[in-house]
Point group: C2
Chain length 144, copies 2
Amino acid sequence: MKKPTDLTVDTWISLIKAQKIAFSTVESSLKRHDLPPLNWYDILLELKRVGADGLRPFQLEKELLLPQYGISRILDRMEEKGYLARKACENDGRGHRLIITDKGLEILAKMWPVYSDAIETAVGSKLNPKQAKVAVEILSQLID
Amino acid sequence: MKKPTDLTVDTWISLIKAQKIAFSTVESSLKRHDLPPLNWYDILLELKRVGADGLRPFQLEKELLLPQYGISRILDRMEEKGYLARKACENDGRGHRLIITDKGLEILAKMWPVYSDAIETAVGSKLNPKQAKVAVEILSQLID
DNA sequence: TGAATGTCAATGCATATGCATGTATATATT
DNA sequence: AATATATACATGCATATGCATTGACATTCA
């Protein structure tokens, strides 16, 4: 197998490090404000987007790149907090539809200002628009 | 506080996603080969670099961006596996020096081929050198 | 010197995660 | 239809992590 160049290794290292720093900036800001973690935000946002129809857990799994059992347990906690409801699925007895509640919409709205400030701090303030554009292009290439 | 632009948010999202995918590619490859996780590699590599003098846990903490208690417990496991030794520190009774063992050097050597292949798969094969260079530049800016 | 404060590292307890498996339902095969 | 296989989701158990605190030593400063 082809060995990575030093440049490739440097890219890998800076990717990991940059993400770690940015992520912990954002996550810890949420925590400081007594708000739920990022995953919860992502889930709630997806659920808000699709509205009353809701989504099935396995759809979230694909969207959010989380393991099945991870989703299952996050949903437990979110349901317990009243941020979403699991309703039986009519056409598939195995599944549920996940519906965001009013309380879920509320917390989503509360999270965004904190979340967005942190994104600006961790990313926006450190790159000019041209760099950001290039970053999106390059990082997207790592995604597919 | 300044709100992030859509471009900034896109950058944030692709950063998180790209890292998640690359990281899990690498980490799961190590796991498949019954090798220790990435953190262990980083620690062992640092220890190898400094040689017989060893390093103190708090130095690793800064280097690797891990919490103090995280380090402490990783070191427990690594010591248990015989990959490193904690020796009392002569000039500071609170601390230890961490010394890599032969077994540690061995596992490090075993890990690299798997690790490097995975880096090549996750990063090297997806970017041309010019892009990699730009990526390092931009990501580095997120680090300081 | 010795009392107060700071630093290094470990740990008890609560919570989260990974892995393997279980339960229920759906789909495919004969 | 009966059986085998696949999919959706949950969960028991072991392990890992986060947080707060402790214990041991170092440093500062009155």
